[in-house]
């Protein structure tokens, strides 16, 4: 069975890049545009892994991660943070919110897939 990835990013460009990269790598991809939509989509999607941006309108990545971790049904899902911020502070906040790992933008396809493989069975 294909692994299912939920991506949450407000940038159309990044969403499309993720979609192409993940589909090419044989993943099933579901997309949301911000944290609020991400939490909504999550309810029916039951993904194997989540890839999320940090800076987003309405509900940012930190809030989204906290939301997932508070969700009884989905709190175990690995979450990778996709962000241009490579600095320790952002990573730290993401980790404190409950992120599993991170991918530094601009991501290269191998690293993205590699990170997903690392946190999923």
């Amino acid at each position: 069975m294909k692994k299912k990835v939920l991506t949450v990013d407000d940038s159309r460009t990044i969403r499309n890049m993720l979609l192409v990269t993940l589909n090419n790598a044989g993943f099933e991809t579901i997309q949301a545009e911000d944290g609020i939509e991400g939490l909504e989509v999550l309810e029916n999607a039951n993904p194997d892994v989540i890839v999320t941006d940090i800076n987003m309108p309405r509900l940012d990545g930190f809030g989204f991660i906290e939301g997932v971790r508070r969700n009884e049904k989905y709190r175990a899902i690995p979450i990778l943070v996709l962000t241009t911020e490579s600095d320790a502070e952002k990573k730290n906040r993401a980790r404190q919110a409950g992120a599993t790992g991170w991918i530094v933008k601009p991501f290269d396809p191998t690293k993205l897939i590699d990170a997903i493989e690392r946190v999923t069975a």
Partner: protein, 99 residues
């Protein structure tokens, strides 16, 4: 009143034994304490360290209670993961499973 020894209970493990399942599994085992237990791990697709911990703690408790705690059937992924994380359950495998 039926003898407790005769009341062998069985427990079928869920396919995915992740963080979420650890608490449920723990509760299930707690409810089965006191009698012999046969575990069916044949449906297991994925097992995480937390559930492995719960199972091993169960094995320990059953041993203290001097009750048998056996894995009747195990799936390949279950067995391999146990081996991978260095948890030896050979001594808990039922005769049939060991063949």
């Amino acid at each position: 009143m039926a003898s407790k020894k005769a009341a062998q209970k069985s427990l079928s493990l869920a396919p995915v034994l992740d963080l979420n399942e650890a608490t449920a599994l723990h509760a299930q085992l707690m409810g089965l304490k006191g009698g012999p237990l046969v575990i069916d791990a044949s449906a297991v697709e994925r097992v995480g360290a937390l559930c492995a911990q719960v199972l091993m703690a169960g094995a320990k408790s059953w041993e203290e209670d001097k009750q048998p705690f056996t894995f009747a059937k195990v799936s390949e992924p279950f067995m391999k993961t146990m081996q991978l994380i260095g948890v030896n359950i050979d001594h808990l495998l039922a005769q049939e499973a060991r063949q």
